[in-house]
Symmetry: D3
């Protein structure tokens, strides 16, 4: 079998990319050992690439009440609801690593209600999924339910913004048929895979 | 009655904003005569503000096979499907202006199938709504349907990317209760309102 | 462009109509300054015309606990849920006029939860939408929720009957492609448009 | 057990009713041997009663391309989709009688695709159910599908109008908890039950 | 008209069947007076026939907190939700017989909320329908709601297992177009039909 | 953290089980190296255990036009649609092993349309998902679509029967909170894990 395409759109060569985009790729490759396909495939549209990762960094790498693992839980749960293979697999790997659990990503992608997470995290994911699936029905009671678990209003924005960003990301990945790197499969599943 | 809040989150004062954000607001105010609330309310989170408008400009102001009116049609149709008041009203005003039609925005927000638009535009909106509502079901036949109306693969990405960006935008607006400026109501509905 | 059809079915001439139907049209024209297309298009079927307006008058013009603006809110909210352009636009105009608000119709059509209306009115619309969208799930708790806001059992019937009548009306309008008159666009949006 | 209520609303006594309404009840009782509860329960609201039966007669008893059995099929199929007990049972009885089949009503209420009806009748019910469940998606192709089976545009209106009227009727019946008369159970199921 | 097929698959002759399967059919015929088509049609696949009826007996004929009528209510309510004609008709007949009510099956198939059953039975059917329609959302609160009506954990398993078995059964019956025997129509509707 | 429960119901000890059930467990342990939790948790109900595995063997281990990998694809795709963690994880492992692909299970669970499978397999999964999600809408065209890819009527029954059995299995697993063994995580993902 031929190698399957990682996008139904052209994928630029590293050497043809604008400097800032190539620099980001080199950086991630040094850290992760490979370049996740989201970088390579979105680079077909440099302006959208820059905006996407700016948004990503703004909501995924900011300070606040959510841990890194919790942010990835939101990505995995909402991407599961949107049937987005790339985000389930790639962010599932990050979730396993941050949460130090080989099984949590499959749990959260399938059904957060039964996952090995805290009641607080279940409340967080209920809110995130409501933003993902029926955001017009968000009312003050939903914020109150978060507050009961210690989340602030700013945390609520963080949760909602991550769900919203991956609403975008899932749609782009599904649109272009973005394929996850095979490397993600084992990350966080076996000792010392990272 | 008191003036209703334009966001359930704090709204920064113009003077307290970073220079680049304030500059963008001043620019839009000079052009439009008022500052749309999306600028004022998102400014509570400067990094997200910058990323959002970078994405917006990348997909709404790029060259390509879609007219300005067609881009706004995509926004209005998908925002209607997501029940997002801000985007229906604000982008409805832009659509009326670009399409030079006082009635088109209400048509597209309610039901594009019966709107006064071309079969090509209906195909465009069918694709956009599929990206908005069930992106995992996008298959090659959907691209072929666009191609039959003269849309290229890059146009398809544009259509999908606009639908995806407003998937994000609708969710943020619904999350924070973003209120449209009253000024939008008449824009494009009466002669010489702009 | 040719004038778009106001119905996919034949539209009778005023002079060919039965006297009672023509009289009703003349009456509405004198009051409103134009004949809303619902009259002209339904006149293709005189018996259904008479029955429809008899039902309309019975539920929209009766006495009871609902104001005229509240009755129109129910029409606009349920017609929004059913994606019926004619009813959103025509009854949106009436709602703006009765509620003396240029923005309320767009709010209620998109998402009543965030509209500038009272908690009592939100409870009314929650009940109306349940009748519109999943009437078999109506239980005594739904009546109790209305009662908590001061609505009587007869008010509940009124709310439900309006939602039910426009369930019919939305379907007929969608079936025949009923087009709203352009005159509705500005009604109630600008001072002294009526 | 006490006799279960036939409506959650007051049911007027025959002697207290306006003459025209009582006359209609007497007439139906003479024909059917009993008064169907739809008459008795709607009589709580005389104006709505009159409008409802005027609409009913206009679409159910007019001439045209649909047989009496076919009209009842539309009622039963759409009432099944709306989970309306009264209309399934009462109109199911009429359907059995008109179609001279003891089993057809249960078939059509559950799943018209597998019912003992003609392909033309299946096309009719597909159209009716689209009007009942997602009328905004009706497009010219739907009319063409009817035409391929010999239905005219006026037949299409008839089909849609019956679906629309029972959209109303189902919602009212569900709202008030209208209970079918026990007499309907055997009508048309056994020889000479009528 | 020809006799309609009772399955789109071949139906074996009684004499060609394995002894154990023929024996079961003879037994049911002696008890019921006819062989329900589920036996005849599933016999096309003897191993699946045996497994199905083993499962059926395990959950429908075991001891426990549910009466025979209540078990059939679960079958009828979930089969109604799945639009499975065979199971609605065949188990509707059993429900009428066990509950000694000619009207209960039509009620439960259409809308259990308005049926002549106890609040305990409504709670049972709410749980069963959640298992049937969105089992991944079952949480401890659902078990608590059952417990409030006196159901034990083992009863909850029974309710869920019946809903699960008929999730299978409904799908097989819909797949093969299993037709109910005409004999079911009158069972339990008239005195002394059994 | 304590070891999480593998079921919300009691789990019998191996020594307390009926001989035939214990024998089956010993057999699977010898082959797989561990006892999958579906055996241990269902053993709480020996009769249902026997019926379930009889059904399982009848549809999963019979001869016919479907390969072992294809049967597991059906399980994984429909279990993904039903959000059933146990079946996604356990049968995902089997699918990886039979298809000799470390990535196929995640693909099929998320979105079979983009998986590395043949058009014939995609047609098979489209049919299976229709049986899983809206079986009442199965019509002859669906069988014809299978036939176009070389599937016989008996293959169609096989596909439907697997989807139907896991409709049951997913609901039971969700009901009792069946937890997948950790051992499944790596099966088929790394060379020589089996």
């Amino acid at each position: 079998m031929n190698t399957p395409a990682i996008s139904r759109y052209p994928v630029p060569k590293l050497k043809d990319l604008p400097d800032d985009i190539r620099a980001r790729m080199v950086e991630v490759q040094e850290k992760a050992g490979f370049i996740p396909n989201v970088f390579v495939t979105l680079a077909h549209r440099p302006d959208e690439f820059r905006a996407f990762f700016a948004y990503h960094d703004a909501v995924m790498e900011k300070d606040g009440g959510l841990s890194k693992a919790e942010r990835e839980m939101i990505v995995v749960a909402t991407s599961g609801a949107n049937d987005c293979l790339y985000c389930i697999v790639a962010h599932g790997a990050l979730l396993r690593i941050y949460a130090k659990s080989p099984v949590i990503a499959d749990q959260v992608a399938a059904n957060y209600r039964k996952a090995d997470i805290t009641p607080r995290q279940k409340a967080m994911l209920a809110f995130a999924l409501k933003v993902a699936l029926k955001s017009s029905e968000i009312v003050e009671d939903d914020f109150a339910a978060l507050k009961a678990h210690g989340f602030t209003d700013e945390d609520a924005w963080d949760i909602g913004a991550i769900a919203a960003l991956f609403a975008l990301s899932n749609r782009i990945a599904n649109l272009i048929g973005m394929r996850p790197n095979d490397e993600f499969q084992l990350l966080g599943r076996v000792p010392r895979t990272r």
